[in-house]
Amino acid sequence: MSTRAKELLVVGIVLLFCIIAYLGKVYGWVDTVVFSPMVSMIVVGIIILGLVFVLIRTLQGRLINRQVVFLFVGIAVIMPFFMSITQKIRTSPEVQQLYDAVAELPKGSKVLVSFDYDPPSAPELQPMAEAFLYYCLSNDLKVIIMGLWPQGAQQANLALEAIMKNEKLAAKGLEYGKDYVNLGYQAGNEFVIQRMGADFSSMFRTDYSGRHYEELELVKNVKNFSNIDYSFNLSAGYPGTQEWVQVAVDRYGLKMGCGNTAVQAPMMYTYLNAGQLVGLLGGMNGAAEFEQLVKYPGKGTKFMLSQSFAHMIVIAFIIIGNVAFFRSGRGKKL
């Protein structure tokens, strides 16, 4: 089969899958499919049997190709969506630190949240954004939103839209401009942060919807970082947490925590250990831990089972890979 035929076939299959998923969503089939614990365990058993089969083939000297790995990962990610297995999520110290930092803020404190990511990183960062905004707004903290990425402000709106459906928040009757504002996107990367150190309004003359800075009750007296009690940065790259630390934290003494993609999070531990960051949410598990703490179980918690399965599958394949490696005799050097 030619590459083009394969591509068309894949596109066709994906399209069919999307149509089924869309219809499932519209007619509510997807949400109603929940495996009982027994069925869940059977699915887990089948996956394990599949892995054992792969291991046996590997021992027989027949190596699998990458498509088999992809298939197992796909199954491991999708199946848990329908499973009813609960997991105990334990809070890591860096997540607890972030929670404590926000929890000790007095009511009315101003929290700056910078959305420095775009849709590709949303699966990891959006749950963090929602849980963080939910916690701030439900605890009467005032939230000022901005973005150094063009799509950041839109992601913030999506997060706000999602949390406002929560009954507790809806009952509070939160008011835009008074309890939270979205200042929108500003081009200029770290230069924006630097200029905000002197004057916010020089960078954000209007908010996301075009209202003048001075007309917004929440921010009209907010001049610079000295008026901000805590800042939270959601970052997926450049400009992101590193730039915030280098400019806002180091030069202006801003107290800041961050939420990063799992790939980027390890780099942030250097800043966390040095005290330049107060709290860190790393990847999906960081989001899930924070959701547990703030009692807002969202997508982070929901997807943790998938993450658990995916990690186990990767570990299983690393073991299988090493079995193949030693079986081929190359491991004798060890």
């Binding site: 007296n221 610079n224 000295s226 009690d229 450049y238 180091d250």
Partner: protein, 417 residues
């Protein structure tokens, strides 16, 4: 907002409430608290409210002017009350008198400092700080009241010619640049400098040669960042060398880029490289082409090209983010020889796992010196190594001093106050 008016109105309402307090509570409680302004109650009539004291105002040091720092001592809140925050009021000086006070900032409780970054250097100002007290009223609703400090001394802002908080960075930069310049001058004077072998760069010729043998293309991916990123500059520097080798072997080199400015630069570099080896006719304008600024759109575009055209060799040189593994793993799947180089610590493991050779961090920056073997460039590497030796030495000293509690050595390396 004119706070004087606000405060006056609040005091007025407060006095009225002292007189009609019981009446309001019993009959009109909800209506009274539904007013726009916070209503002082027993906060006013029972206990005196302490205002902030020791108002200190000064020009913010080490800045570009236009900023005044206000500090105060937080008052002790009377029993049953809490401090909710502070208003900072400012008045312009008119002769020796102060003009009208306006709110210019607010902070929450726990703060005793505010930076007013909206002043004009040529003008003089006076400041006051008002504390916002809150308490729970008799009917369980929160009530607020203000207590205002005295007027500060007159103050004005000015710009400074040196940021003394950065003196440690300045000294570091002078030393490091000094070393680099010293070794460059030594290299120019003819001193031979040793540079260790970098496998990834040694393999450039081999990788291009392989593509020639197979009669397939070479791809060069200069990262997803713009020309203002030093990694991109380092990447396109290597591109020049790769283009020369490719032109010599008459192998087609394709450079898909994700930034317009990189497009212009890379095109110029490849063109010059082809001219340099005497093959200007072999250069095609479309060899260097733009795909998209979008990170994953770019990754998808390249993946598609790689899968369809199956290049023999792929170079990844520059700044990469999450797309690194997507690109490198696709290249690996078609069996291309891959050489990567980046200074993004989080992406290095992916390149190491999926590529044949990886230039780790500083090796990317050393590449141009390594490939050109020009004494001046090699000299800069030597200077950089001396800087590294000093940092290593400092780390050892710092660890010893801090472990034994002799002196907080790390304080030298922070932003100095």
């Amino acid at each position: 907002m004119n706070l004087q008016l606000v405060i006056r109105s609040r005091l007025f309402v407060g006095l009225a409430q002292v007189c009609f307090f019981l009446f309001l509570l019993v009959n009109l409680g909800p209506l009274a608290f539904a007013q726009d302004e916070p209503v002082p109650t027993q906060l006013v009539d029972s206990t005196p409210l302490n205002p902030p004291t020791n108002i200190e105002v000064a020009d913010t040091p080490n800045d570009a002017g236009g900023s005044i720092t206000i500090r105060w001592t937080e008052p002790i809140p009377p029993e049953g009350t809490a401090i909710k925050g502070y208003y900072i009021l400012r008045a312009e000086a008119v002769g020796n008198e102060q003009g009208q006070f306006d709110v210019v900032g607010e902070t929450s409780t726990g703060s005793s400092e505010l930076l007013d970054g909206n002043v004009v250097d040529t003008l003089n100002y006076y400041y006051r700080v008002a504390v916002i007290y809150s308490a729970t009223g008799v009917n369980g609703l929160e009530v607020e009241a203000l207590a205002e400090s005295g007027i500060s001394r007159m103050v004005s802002s000015s710009a400074q010619w040196f940021d003394w908080r950065r003196i440690n960075v300045f000294v570091g930069v002078i030393f490091l640049c000094g070393f680099i310049l010293y070794y460059i001058s030594r290299a120019k004077a003819g001193k031979k400098l040793f540079i260790r072998k970098i496998a990834g760069l040694e393999a450039v010729d081999e990788a291009v040669g392989r593509a020639t043998e197979m009669g397939k293309k070479i791809y060069f991916i200069p990262g997803t960042q713009d020309m203002d990123n030093v990694q991109t500059i380092a990447g396109v520097t290597i591109l020049g060398r790769v283009a020369e080798v490719a032109a010599t072997y008459d192998t087609y080199l394709e450079v898909p880029v994700s930034r317009s400015l990189v497009l212009v630069t890379a095109k110029e570099i490849v063109k010059e490289a082809y001219s340099k080896v005497g093959r200007p006719d072999a250069f095609h304008e479309d060899q260097v082409h733009y795909l998209t600024d979008d990170q994953f759109g770019y990754a998808a575009g390249i993946d598609g090209m790689v899968v369809r055209e199956k290049p023999a060799t792929i170079f990844f040189m520059g700044a990469f983010y999450a797309e690194s593994l997507i690109l490198a793993e696709t290249g690996n799947s078609i069996g291309a020889i891959q050489i990567a180089g980046t200074a993004m610590p989080s992406q290095l493991p992916f390149f190491v796992a999926a590529c044949d050779y990886t230039l780790i961090g500083e090796e990317l920056f050393a590449a141009s010196a390594y490939l050109a073997r020009e004494p001046k460039l090699l000299g800069s590497l030597k200077g950089q190594d001396v800087g590294k030796a000093i940092i290593l030495f400092s780390i050892v000293i710092g660890v010893l001093l801090e472990t034994f509690g002799v002196w907080r050595f790390s304080s030298l390396f922070g932003v100095l106050d």
